[in-house]
Point group: C3
Chain length 450, copies 3
């Protein structure tokens, strides 16, 4: 997303610049829009986009609290608040400069494409700067950029918590969150958005993160799910036992929150709002993002009616999210019709992916792997359908490189955690529920159990 | 709301232009604000307004999920997600150009005032347009306009679902939603906001849709309620049996969400933010919208205390919504005091309208008809109190024309659906609850029933 | 926050102007940003900030509904909707001009620093003003300013309702709310933000209201709690009996809502967005506000794990809020690291303050006194750590003056209410629960009690 920041440095190199960078570039020398207003409006876009994406943390919390069983709700809420907070702290301490080294690569360089960014905490601009003191006057304030980018890192961590719910211990999960937000996410994100090798060598296009955010969360979750194992009784006697979510109102609320937040997620990733072209592009993105979600929801609605004879609300909710993930790699170039269809394919995919995971005995409590990993891959490939700058090879090689990196590193971390402190709660605690066993606090202490 | 788009075309005609159009018109030739910035700021207003109104979809979902009985919550959530998604798709496919034909009326013309707009899907501006390529450079980007207007269409559909809850089948309801969002809403909305005959021949004023949105939802709901009939046992033995909402926390949350979203609903309907006058006007609208909601809530609070000796939370919530609907036809011209009183009258009205509907054995599960239809009419008439451009005749004739059109067409559609696929669930399913009977999925499966 | 409004009037006086005023001042004569755009962008900041802070009303409602017991949820929801509505009306009727007399002090003057503002309802600018007709063209529209400031007044009232939950009668509480929002809050707020004596004589710095909003709510709540007494059975037999909150999902949702709203609370208090420096400063504030919340949450997470061997979700939630309150007096000057630590200290403080209050048998149902009063004081003192314009003496004397005023006046009002209409529900009503006893309406009528 933030590729444009270093464009001047590589302007002479013969690299295919993605469309989003060009849009920003043409803004800088704007004739009759003051450049101050470009700085201000871009900053405003990041602040609005950032608070909308921050709100997605609440969306994940509600979605997951609604989809776990009553006995694990407090734990799920605790994990969601804690992971967001840890992401905020560790992205500040380590992640931000690792992701955006601005030329100071530890391994690699802007010319060759970097592999490992810079180490050191984020530093904001001084109070009350003038235009000369702005870190990047043609772009936006550093504070707004940090705020916005942090939220993407936190989103990645939120994806993991849902899959591993109802059986993972609190502290190992939080330690993994630290590694993910401080290292895994920023390193791979730098390869594309920080101007690293995926961007410069492969022309990888990922507008707002179908791969960089969503599939990364999905791969980390998948590694965890495989190592952690399914919940007790889930795949007993060769059958899949459904564990219905305890509160579908909350799950629906969470989905609406995510849907709303996604306008900031995708719209803000235009990275610019200060020209006629950028304003119109952000608008396209809002409209396309919305219609892709609608397409995904309706596809899942129809599919579940046709396949099961009954509409399945949790599938419809995940269908909307699937549509959102699917459009995230390219929310700008599709027409409204194409965006609807790209989202609808996502909605169809998860209707098949959810039972397929169950067949493989991979226990994903909220369906995060189908939504974020499967549709993240689909969305990344779908860029080729509407954006002629994309190459199928560049997309697929990037999906693979990111996937292998994240899956392997995550697996190593999960194995180390398992070998040292253990990652799974004792069997009796899982049966009792994590709320009473681990936290001593029920989410709904006065509501009788059915 | 979007009247100004075609003002150039009718500038020579001797028509009383509403205040909002003038405000926009004076902005276009702005002397020292760059016209680029007007395009950008108007677009930004639509994007912010649009995401706030989108959020109202979650508000309706929570309000309705909180006011239905436990056994119908999953169904109500499903309907709300599905109707919003269908609105997004069918407003794109049909509704938008039907509502805003931009001179290409199928029946009528801009000069005489149109009756039926244009057919064809919405098309956004190309990626990265310059100012010359903007569809309407003096206004805002088409994408932002589409995004904003779509949300009003979806709001109209949301109103219907609450009234008909707990007994209507899923698919007939969704088919009605398609007709409403593709045809009924856009056609009548074109009469005012698309520059149709209500606007040009009657000088009808409806700033943000007390009639065009809220009463339309109310009329469609009323037609449905009459044809569908009341819930089993609701009016048994000549008495009204209250069916208390299952979750007042959700209902309150939904009300707060709607209250928040309404700032976008009314504020965005200024349609412009790029001049000093427009910015100050949007501010007036925010302040007036808020105080009208407060007036409605406090009026209902006092009324229920006085009449029943006890404050009734659901009335207070509906009182706030009543205040919001009441101010929607004219949130700009009233003073803060007048806005408070206009809202308070709305709050008083619903306290009487709710039991009156029950006396007529019209079963409205969430009180949508009192809130959106009764207060929609009141708000439309109240324009005359503070806006000298309004004529009582123009307002009342428009209320009647819109009401007759929507009620009759809706009734026809409901009758056809009833005659073909049936609209009501079997009696035993209604008693069991739609969640288990129709969807096989409870919203709160682990909470014991009281 | 609104200090800059009267700076011209006192520009000759030898007073230490706070940094926020200077930032605004330099914007007015901006060279290449049109002054129209400053008015528009500042107005936009207030509208966005205002709707975010309005959303905090929902956050308090959900937090409190989640932390009270099931039998008192409807009442808590009712109080929250009603107090916000009353704040809207009485801040309009009395509060706004009392807080911002703009030179027309009833007691005192801008030169000496005022003590009591002007009486009379708020009046907005006329519809469609030009720049010459703007009340304060170098600042923002009056409507946006009123809208934004109102939300701070309402926030103060929201703080009180949580502490006094589960035993206070509805109407006396609402009457206190009227006094608080019409008189107590505006009078003391005028001393700082209206340019009164705390600002001019003591150089008191409170950027967004650690003292002016949060500790004021806390003092009013403390006075109420002492006079009202603890809930029945809370401190029976010399032991503290915990009454767990009935719905931690709602409490978590409420916390996320407050976290989100706080970006508007602190960010909007920059009062300007129209220059490079202001845009960058608002960004710093967003980033610092977020990291302070994260610091508070993680501090409480670690502290409860260490002290009790188990993480306590309600402490983590209150820790996040504690971090937010702590950074509110100075969200601009700290670095990200300093902001994290300021928030973390807040998180530590509440872990000790909550049981300390219990030892003193002060029954604070949701922990509002630790969060808003204790951390409000801490945050106000912490200004000295990063802002060299602050004096420890000026801060502490202002804390004391505001504290004594609010506590004494609140106590008098509570005593009068107690002596006349009574403030506490009958014992049997408290045991039954306020929902059935006072309102005749349960929040969750169909959920069986455990």
């Amino acid at each position: 997303m933030k590729l444009n920041k270093f464009i001047p440095a590589i302007a002479g190199a013969a690299i295919a610049l993605p469309a989003i960078a060009l849009a920003q570039e043409e803004a800088v020398p704007g004739v009759d829009a003051s450049t101050d207003s470009i700085f201000i409006l871009n900053t405003l876009l990041f602040l609005i986009g950032g608070f909308l994406v921050m709100w997605m943390a609440a969306g994940f919390a509600m979605l997951e609290a609604g989809l776990v069983r009553q006995k694990n709700v407090t734990m799920q809420l605790t994990k969601n608040v804690a992971l967001f907070s840890l992401a905020a702290i560790f992205y500040y301490l380590i992640g931000y400069n690792l992701m955006y080294p601005l030329g100071s690569w530890s391994i690699g360089s802007d010319e060759t494409g970097g592999y490992l960014g810079a180490f050191g905490p984020a530093v904001l601009e001084a109070v009350g700067i003038g235009r000369d003191a702005a870190d990047d006057y043609g772009y936006a304030s550093t504070g707004s950029d940090f705020f916005f980018q942090l939220m993407f890192c936190a989103t990645t961590a939120s994806i993991v918590s849902g899959t591993l719910a109802e059986r993972i211990k609190l502290w190992p999960f939080l330690i993994f969150t630290i590694v993910l937000t401080a290292l895994i996410y920023p390193i791979q994100a730098s390869w594309k958005w920080g101007g690293g090798f995926l961007d410069s060598q492969y022309g990888f296009l990922d507008f707002a993160g179908s791969t960089v955010v969503h599939s990364v969360g999905g791969w980390a979750a998948l590694a965890g799910a495989l190592i952690l194992g399914p919940r007790i009784g889930k795949y007993k006697d060769g059958r899949v036992h459904p564990y219905p979510g305890s509160n579908l109102s909350l799950a629906t609320l969470g989905t609406f929150i995510l849907w709303l937040g996604w306008f900031g997620f995708n719209g803000g990733s235009q990275l610019a709002m200060g020209t006629v072209g950028d304003a119109a592009d952000v608008s396209r993105i809002f409209a396309n993002t919305n219609t892709a979600a609608a397409g995904g929801a309706i596809a899942a609605l129809i599919m579940t009616q046709v396949m099961y004879g009954k509409v399945d609300l949790t599938m419809v909710l995940n269908g909307a999210l699937a549509g959102l993930v699917s459009i995230t790699a390219e929310p700008l170039t599709p027409s409204l019709g194409a965006a609807t269809l790209i989202g609808a394919v996502g909605g169809v995919l998860i209707v098949f992916a959810v039972p397929m995971l169950d067949k493989m005995k991979i226990d994903d409590v909220v369906g995060a792997i189908p939504v974020h990993l499967v549709c993240g891959i689909w969305g990344t490939l779908a860029v080729c359908l509407t954006n002629s700058d994309a190459s199928f090879f560049g997309q697929i090689i990037s999906i693979i490189i990111v996937g292998v990196f994240v899956f392997v590193v995550s697996a190593v971390v999960w194995f180390i955690l398992k070998a040292t402190m253990g990652i799974r709660v004792p069997e009796e605690d899982e049966i009792t529920g994590l709320d009473m066993a681990e936290l001593g606090m029920e989410a709904y202490p006065e509501f009788a159990k059915g």
